[in-house]
Assembly symmetry: C2
Homo-oligomer: 419 residues x 2
């Protein structure tokens, strides 16, 4: 298998989960340390780092790593090479926590429900959290209404704490989907078992329609034509924080499974797994992270679409990012030189052939573009999209989800009426 | 001389000024091209690029260069190496100019007074100017009141035009200071003539006081102790756009010359020249540009101070940048690995010794910090700073300048009173 893994200093991915044999001792030690309360999204980052998705990062960023990420989207290794690191992976604390920590060099990280100590952060460094600068340099805007900013950064403390992470036990969500949360190490093992000679990753946070399937199957054919004998698809939906109007992970997973059952994608050459990262919606900056993490998991081809990790501008009537910038920035990003980027051909609904097809500009009038918003509107209103847009089983999942949403929305109103 | 020059693709600095023999032909050719009107600051950038300060950049950035500068603060060369390029060097045009250019592949650039064609931009590319994103990623804020933004970006057009620059004749200002505007090539030649074995650059945009002199002389001694036989100082005031309350270039140059005449710095081991770049006040992002340009001119040591290229936050009561970030970012910047950074020791007025001295924290109460604002206030009010803060000749220049300012300010008021 020809892969282009970013190697950590010592070779191989970092694995920050402590061995079971030393766990009890570490927990006892941690109980004596100052405690930091993790939010749900902080814990997602602990999960991400613990498995090596962000390798060679060994814990929440110290200031040197933070500044390099913010200014250069990459970290310099001791041997002089650069690894890509486009998003700051940081832990914010408030003045009170900083005061509590005092001169301690290690802290214990508590689960969001405070039930147990999740991890130790060692040899800590505390430095200022300039939120305005972080937001401006990460998103290229400081407009109000950025989902990750509103959820994570604005309510966060004015200090960042970095250090080396020791995770006391693997992070689990107990939501019935943990078996889809394969670590980079597990994915590499799986690719090896299946004797893949190429792995192409497809990041998604939306339901999969036949346009995606067309693209994926086309990519597979291209790889076969290039001489690969057994290219595998890593269908890799994002599992962490997403904005309120995105479709939740459990519904998306159910939809993806239906698509595979319906034979739109070939289960024999597909691995479905969950990518545990939270979503930033930071366009060209974030797409680098999406690609880099998949390289760490053994992918060597990455499919990049129009406006990856983008969204509408929160206050202006335009896309937040130039839809072509993601692809361009990714292709030039430091530390990703060896990544094979597969351009995303635009698929649309061909009203003549009555199926999703690659857009043909010579007969543009025959094509119908069905955006995510339009798709959600169809499903919300119980309307059917044009035949051939999505397999019926997959579509049914979405319709059921929106029906359940409407039922939920109706309930509190009814309650208000009766009180 | 051991230097660490960033070499352009073909080796050596780019020189974008056309030879005299082909000038007339080029002018005739340019007269037939669509015309773009340069602002005063656009012309400063033409000057900067024409002499190779921004080498290997060959003209105003095309989109690939712009995106790399914005996201990575560096450009990848064909051989895979990175050169530092932290500020976007771009030319903005409006819709009307874009329309006028149409399908032309080359354009002529007109001097700000429209008197003559300054340069040709060849093989042009026109792309969108997303001002908000450019500002956020360059300054780490989008607050109103950033001097370069207010002066240059806000009034600019919504398109950027990149291409290869051919400068038809060297840019001159005819302000009596052109003989101080030495090109990187001329500076290298001068260093060679003087048999310098180390060149340390000192960027400044303020009057030079004895604290600076202390630092410079200390640096020279350090270099001698390191084994260099003939270290030269490149005293390199910035000559392009500065904000309204900064002291103008002609006054600063007069002040610098007085300081040399008064023997505070040694003229034998100092070269005074003007760095033609405009000022962004973009802190850690800009300090990389300041250092990189001086490397191109043959400097191999760069003195970096507290809060380089920084300013107060335009709307909040704090420094815009963490005063230590400039030094930290510079020390990790891609493409500047070989740069020798000399940390700036903090000098302050020692009220016991009655002179500028390196700050001694064990007797902090003895030291007086005289900020740029405080210094300007002394001069404005005709007060003398403490003895030993600045040589008398240099101080006199500042007092005279502020008196002339007050006279100017008084005049229009008097006029109003008499009409």
């Amino acid at each position: 298998m020809s892969s282009c893994l970013i190697e950590a200093d010592g070779g191989g991915l970092v694995d920050l989960v402590v061995p079971e044999t030393s766990r009890d001792g570490k927990i006892k030690e941690a109980e004596l340390m100052p405690k930091i309360h993790l939010s749900k999204i902080d814990l997602e980052w602990v999960h991400v780092m613990s498995e090596g998705w962000a390798s060679p990062l060994k814990g929440f960023m110290r200031e040197e790593e933070y500044l390099q990420s913010l200014h250069f989207n990459s970290l310099r290794m001791k041997n002089g090479s650069l690894v890509n690191m486009s998003l700051p992976i940081v832990l914010a604390i408030d003045h009170r926590s900083k005061h509590t920590i005092g001169a301690s060099t290690n802290v214990a990280l508590l689960a969001p429900d405070d039930a147990n100590i999740v991890a130790i952060l060692r040899s800590i460094q505390i430095y200022k959290h300039n939120k305005q600068e972080r937001i401006a340099r990460t998103w290229g805007t400081t407009s109000p209404g950025l989902p990750y900013v509103d959820e994570v950064i604005t309510p966060a403390g004015d200090w960042l704490i970095g250090g080396d992470l020791e995770v006391l036990q693997p992070v689990k969500y107990n939501d019935g989907l943990d078996h889809y949360r394969l670590s980079p190490q597990q994915l590499r093992h799986e690719f090896h078992l299946r004797q893949a000679d190429a792995v192409f990753a497809f990041q998604l946070r939306n339901p999969l329609h036949n346009g995606h399937a067309l693209l994926i199957n086309h990519t597979r054919r291209t790889l076969l034509e290039m001489g690969y004998k057994n290219p595998l698809l890593l269908l890799h939906p994002l599992g962490g924080f997403t904005k309120a109007d995105d479709i939740p992970l459990d519904v998306r997973m159910e939809q993806h499974i239906k698509v595979l059952e319906d034979g739109v994608l070939d289960p024999q050459t597909t691995i479905v797994a969950i990518f545990p990262s939270p979503m930033h919606y930071a366009g060209p900056t974030e797409v680098q992270w999406h690609a880099k993490a998949r390289i760490n998991a053994g992918a060597n081809f990455y499919i990049v679409g129009r406006d990856p990790a983008g969204m509408g501008h929160p206050t202006e009537k335009r896309d937040l990012y130039d839809p072509d910038h993601g692809k361009k920035v990714l292709s030039m990003a430091p530390g990703l030189e060896k990544l094979n980027i597969l351009p995303f051909r635009v698929a649309a609904y061909d009203t003549i052939a009555k199926k999703m097809a690659f857009f043909d500009p010579t007969r543009a009038q025959d094509f119908l573009f069905i955006s995510g918003t339009k798709m959600r509107n169809y499903a919300r209103n119980g309307e059917n999209p044009p035949d051939g847009f999505m397999c019926p089983g997959g579509w049914e999942v979405l319709v059921t989800y929106y029906k359940s949403l409407q039922a939920q929305e109706a309930e509190p109103k009814a309650a208000v009426l009766t009180t």
